[in-house]
């Protein structure tokens, strides 16, 4: 099978709405009158953004949803995609399943694949997506205002928890048990971009970002772009992880010291790790957004309609430059937690 046959068989469909589709030097597209394109690109590399054991069908879905998640965070409707596929070799069975997953995710929004390329090399998938929106309806990161509420869709920590469990299984290093549920593993491996939610939040949310790198670092991006500070109530964050220690380092250390046996100690360590997953691990692909208090009920209604857990988890305050993001405990006391996002080169 040649490169051209591969593209023709698995990645080509008849053109629908593009002015010129796949198969020329470029595709030609235009947004509807009055609209603009929201565009973003993301690269997924094997062993870094997904495990080599990931089912190719889910990988196809994941590539699309990771990119759509950025469109969702702008309140844009997905329209077109470009795919750059780097493969070590042509394994037709795997490519066929990858292609099925890719199309199932594209078809969910009627998105057209209008171009791309394949090349030989270590497995990597780069996708560029085009969403459409009226430019003044865009949900940017910079519109949060003091007094706004802070909301999150879905549950947090589950994806990081699932990844932790998968990595531990793979390395077989023993130690304390981290058991992820099938639902948590599914949420990690095959996230669903919150596209409908993003569209519903047009005119309601004042700022929005998708959680790809961890709650606290995304909150910091919102705070920085909006020149405000953000307070998060740790008790309010929805999560599918059962036992999370929602207290600060100091009380966790005290309890660890007071532990009378290994099982108790291990349970405390696992609950601390769960806190890290809740606040700082990525791959959630939920939306974090702010909105005025008078939109509270409307947002609760939207989340209910979308069948998403979600919750109001904090508030926007005036800028405190030393503390762009504060996490508050059950007694509304500021917790000592470092706000740090994922850095590929750290």
């Amino acid at each position: 099978m040649t490169e051209f046959e591969l593209i023709a068989r698995y990645f080509t469909r008849p053109n629908r709405s593009a002015l010129l589709g796949n198969g020329d030097d470029c595709a030609i597209v235009a947004p509807s009158a009055g609209n603009a394109f929201a565009v973003t690109t993301d690269t997924l590399i094997e062993g870094r953004h997904f495990l080599p054991t990931l089912d190719p069908f889910k990988l196809g879905r994941r590539v699309v949803n990771v990119n759509f998640s950025d469109l969702a965070a702008m309140g844009a409707l997905p329209r077109y995609a470009l795919l750059s596929l780097t493969l070590p070799q042509i394994d037709e069975d795997r490519i066929s399943r990858f292609s099925d997953g890719l199309w199932s995710a594209l078809d969910a929004y009627g998105v057209e694949l209008i171009g791309g390329n394949t090349t030989k090399g270590p497995l990597a998938i780069a996708m560029t997506v085009f969403g459409e929106l009226p430019p003044n309806a865009a949900l940017t990161r910079s519109g949060a205002r003091a007094g706004d509420e802070l909301w999150v869709s879905g549950t947090l920590g589950d994806a990081g928890w699932a990844l932790t469990s998968l990595i531990r299984d793979r390395s077989s290093d023993g130690g304390f048990a981290i058991e992820a549920t099938a639902a948590q593993i599914e949420k990690y491996e095959s996230p669903n971009a919150r596209v409908a939610l993003g569209l519903a939040l047009r005119g309601i949310a004042t700022s929005c970002i998708d959680i790809s790198d961890g709650l606290l670092s995304e909150a910091k991006h919102l705070a920085t772009a909006s020149a405000v500070s953000i307070e998060i109530d740790i008790e309010a964050i929805p999560s599918g992880i059962e036992a999370i220690d929602r207290s600060d380092k100091w009380s966790a250390a005290q309890r660890l010291n007071a532990a009378t046996n290994v099982a108790e100690r291990d349970a405390l360590i696992v609950a601390q790790l769960a806190q890290h997953c809740l606040l700082s691990t990525g791959d959630a692909y939920e939306l974090l957004f702010t909105a005025p208090h008078d939109q509270h009920d409307a947002i609760a209604e939207i989340l209910k309609r979308e069948n998403l857990p979600g919750a109001c988890i904090g508030r926007v305050t005036t800028l405190d430059a030393a503390n762009p993001v504060r996490v508050l405990d059950a007694q509304s006391r500021a917790m000592d937690i470092e706000v740090k996002g994922w850095d590929h080169f750290a």
Copy 2:
């Protein structure tokens, strides 16, 4: 240096014409009224699309020009770019020079870098570019008509010749000499997309493609998309390579048999290799296009104004399905040459 500092220092500039530039979940862009976007994406992988020895400045220029070449082939004006950078580590000196090369190529057309991402992994660079054009002015592959002339810009074979010389130098395998000039190596390492030519050909060319994979395979793409056949006069193809055997395999074999010493034999082999570079190696990034005979003088004038060699190298005929592309020798006899493009997985 963190990932965010790297992006901020080397790949971020103030936004100019984008509705929303770098730094949010998406950029937001729209073409001018009545126009559409031509979009394309290309990935360059170290050791496959460029040699590890390539100067990072030239690599930066190359990434942009390889992508702009597809815009040129559509007759589109470059406007925006997205960059996905996969790096094994942060080598600030190399990144700084890469960034300088990238911006020098983007600045030549006032193109804005509106987004992208960096990640860790084997060196690979994926770029998506947006050009602008009135949709009905697009130079597609499908408009060639029997009777049209076939044109090429610049010279062919030089880039392939340069690459051959560089690879032989690197492997030090001895054998006959292949000496590329500095100009040929420059043309290979740092091509210049024919953007101005593409724009000038709007309303003149009936079809157009850029030569990234070799003259004959690109001609076949034009022929297939336009449902015509194409004849190429081998003697008419401009090249910077000095000694090219422009005869067929049969007469080449006869001369090889008649060679009376090693030097004579080596020279014949090198001249045959030069023919292969002329017809079938890639990396030229010149435009191959068709136009009615009555545009002959206008095209010659455009090439002169653009200071490009170029030439009329053949013609379009009605479809002969068994021979989408024919190469004719000096006596207008069909030569026995296989038409085959580059296949990354062959």
